[in-house]
Amino acid sequence: MIVHLDNISKKYGRFDALRGLSLRVPAGSVFALFGANGAGKTTTIKMLMNLIEPTAGDATVLGVNTRALSPKELAQIGYVSENQVMPGRMSVAAYIHYLRPYYPTWDRALESQLLGKLRLPPERRIKDLSHGMRMKMALACALPFRPRVLVLDEPLSGLDPLVRDEFMEALTLQAGETTVLISSHELAEIEAITTHVAFLDRGTLLFQETKADLKARVREVQVTLDGAAHIPAMAPPQWLGISAAGNILSFVDIQYSECDLAARIAALLGSVRHIEAKPVALRSVYTTLARAVRDEEVPK
């Protein structure tokens, strides 16, 4: 495992930001961490980067305890955060020039390629860059040394679609040769590259699995009944977001299984004319789960 969190807790005064969080990020994966605002994603990431100290538990990155991350490990970790503060008075080129010698694996060709792709003005001072430009700048400083791990904390937040595309294009230059841990609400943008997902709720991990497994078990189901549809009083707990319209009942099944599905639905709802189960986009999985968590429907 490239990243390993074991029973991590973090308290801010009386507030539990993380509660016994355990997480494993396999090498080569693009691991998406999602959850509502305040779920603990940024806290988790800052802890991994040794920016904050856990109250309890252990975390390792590249096999090294995060509290003991040395320049050797940091030279293999790229980090981009929406709140990253870079020296404002330095120009883009000057700062990249400053950073270059810190990384033995810095690739000048990749740097040029990135700068071109991200359209960064080399002579402009960092403090004069827009938020989007600054995020691209952070990425341009995180990729050229071909990090073994790339940690991205809400990198797409507040970016316009064009900049998002540029950002994602630059990111995909690296996908495949690096392990990526990304926290983002912009799931539509990251879905294509994501291989693993984890869902955090109020400092607790609800689940983590591969995207393939998640998409296989979460389906949007539409049941066409012979008679009028109504929301069953005793619906299975894995059915989320149930709605009824005419003779159609819709829901998201988070434990979808084709086996005996028709019989189970018929037993609950009566005569079924047609069942359609569609794969769900990551964004819809997130919104459904987030809504359910908010309304405390989701089975833990």
Partner: protein, 513 residues
């Protein structure tokens, strides 16, 4: 890596460095232009302001240097870069050394050599000043900067520290019922800044280590505020405790052993009160024996206790209400080994009224310092100039009023703190009364750090009374032949004496005009 960080900081901060360098050179130029007499007054005022701007500018530059890669917060880019913390600290310290102390050293050397002092003395004075400023100013500022993210936060922290220390000192004054701190206006007042400096240096070293090694801001803040709370500690100590420490630091404790103080009723009442009489003042006749020739004794503090016949303490307190240096009896230049003098003791009015007619036992505890002559030099009274190891570069001139000889001296390092100055005419052997200039500093190490590496001192020596009430042996008509005699004294021993007068009636020794 150190040099890389240094260059990065330089690219960000060079305008600030340029401004501070300009201020430092302006400071040296102003003090050079002022010369030994520190005139004109307008330039002196400007020089004083600029000298404080140097410290302010240095504090701003140090803070900005540290906060280029702030240690507080979780958003700074450098935190996720492979930057060695030790290298970062070294780079910052090197930056401060080169950008703050480089120009300071050059300005001090230019000033010193420009004023004609030998290169060796100038370099020693400049390096000493730089080292002390680095230890007691730079590092504490550095530590505060390491605990804050912005200049405003750093300034607010410094103000808060000042405020807490001031409250602590005020609490000490309150505890002492309004009396000033125990060492105020004495040669031992070095103890408070020395304690503060040591405390600040230790706390700064610990904070910097914690922050650069572990980024343990909470623990570092505990150390900071712990040190701040400890700062007013000396304000709650006692004179006796402090003087016992000072005695241990005596250069030659044995030299004070022959000195004896005794009650000397044979001297009689003071014919003329040395100061305006007041209802509670007593002029106690004393004999001080065993003072070596050319030495002098100064009473740093004296405490009197009046005891009734039944053994109860009727009064206990200091012998004076003054808070100036040498407040208990005046500085005495020795000569024949024995001095007879009247010590002025002032009692609160209500105490004096009650006790004046009673026969009481008086016990006086003296804290004394024996001074020995360190250097004697003379300089012509009229437009004289001379360079002396003890006094530096001195010049004399008649002042604008035409009644004083103005003496101005500039010296590398620390100025003499106890000097006796007299106008004398070697042709006729006449000599005016000595002008003591004594604000002694008993510090074992007393560096001169402000406003520059050169120290300045001076005095006005009277030869005419414009009111024509007093006539001086060496007057204006003799100035062409006259010379100023400078005598510098250094403390040799700090010692105590306990004087017991078994029976005394205060009224018998009351000061009367």
């Amino acid at each position: 890596m150190i040099w890389r960080i240094f260059r990065k900081d330089w690219s960000q901060l060079w305008p600030l460095v340029a401004i501070l360098t300009a201020i430092q050179f302006a400071n040296a130029a102003f003090w050079f232009a002022l010369g030994p007499f520190e005139e004109p007054r307008g330039l002196l005022l400007a020089a004083q302001i600029v000298s404080y701007l140097v410290l302010l500018g240095a504090a701003v530059l140090i803070t900005a240097t540290v906060q280029q890669d702030a240690l507080i917060g979780v958003s700074q880019d450098w935190l996720i870069r492979p930057v060695r913390r030790g290298a970062l600290l070294c780079a910052k310290l090197l930056f401060v050394l080169i950008t703050v102390h480089g120009p300071m050293l050059v300005a001090d050397l230019a000033h010193g050599t420009g004023a004609g002092f030998p290169a060796r003395d100038t370099i020693a004075a400049a390096l000493t000043r730089g080292a002390f400023i680095a230890a007691i100013f730079d590092l504490p500022v550095f530590a505060i900067a390491a605990l804050t993210r912005t200049l405003v936060q750093a300034a607010a922290t410094m103000l808060a520290i000042w405020f807490v220390v001031a409250i602590g000192i005020a609490a000490g004054i309150l505890v002492r019922s309004g009396a000033p701190p125990p060492f105020a206006a004495s040669g031992m007042q070095w103890m408070t800044p020395a304690f503060w400096s040591a405390l600040a240096l230790c706390a700064a070293a610990m904070i910097i280590r914690l922050q650069y090694r572990h980024r343990a801001a909470s623990r570092a803040r505990v150390i900071l505020w712990g040190a701040v709370l400890l700062a007013p500690l000396l304000s709650f100590s006692t004179w006796a405790a402090a003087f016992s420490v000072q005695r241990l630091l005596s250069a030659d404790p044995a030299s004070a052993q022959p000195i004896v103080i005794s009650f000397d009723p044979g001297l009689g009442r003071a014919p003329i009160a040395p100061a305006p009489a007041s209802a509670g003042a007593v002029l106690l006749p004393l004999r001080v024996a065993g003072v070596a020739a050319d030495a002098m004794v100064m009473s740093d503090r004296a405490f009197i206790r009046l005891v009734g016949r039944d053994g109860t303490t009727l009064y206990s307190g200091r012998t004076t209400v003054n808070i100036g240096y040498g407040d208990d009896f005046p500085v005495r230049t020795g000569g024949a080994g024995e001095l007879r003098l009247h010590q002025r003791i002032t009692f609160p009015d209500r105490v004096y009224k009650v006790l004046r007619a009673q026969t009481v036992r008086a016990e006086i505890d003296y804290s004394l310092t024996l001074f020995r002559v360190a250097a004697v030099n003379t300089i012509p009274a009229l437009n004289g100039a001379g360079r002396f190891p003890a006094f530096g570069w001195c010049r004399t001139a008649v002042d604008a009023d035409g009644d004083d000889i103005a003496l101005g001296c500039t010296k590398t390092g620390t100025p003499p703190t106890c000097v006796s100055i007299a106008l004398e005419n070697p042709r006729n052997g006449r000599r005016n009364p000595q002008t003591p200039y004594c604000e002694p500093d008993y510090a074992p190490l007393s560096p001169h750090i402000h406003p520059d590496a050169l120290s300045h001192f001076g005095a006005d020596i009277k030869f005419e009374d414009l009111q024509q009430l007093a006539k001086y042996p060496v007057d204006g008509s003799q100035l062409a032949d006259a010379r100023v005699s400078l005598r510098s004294y250094e403390p040799a021993a700090h010692f105590t004496r306990h004087l017991v007068i078994p029976a005394i009636r205060l009224a018998d020794w009351a000061a009367e005009p």
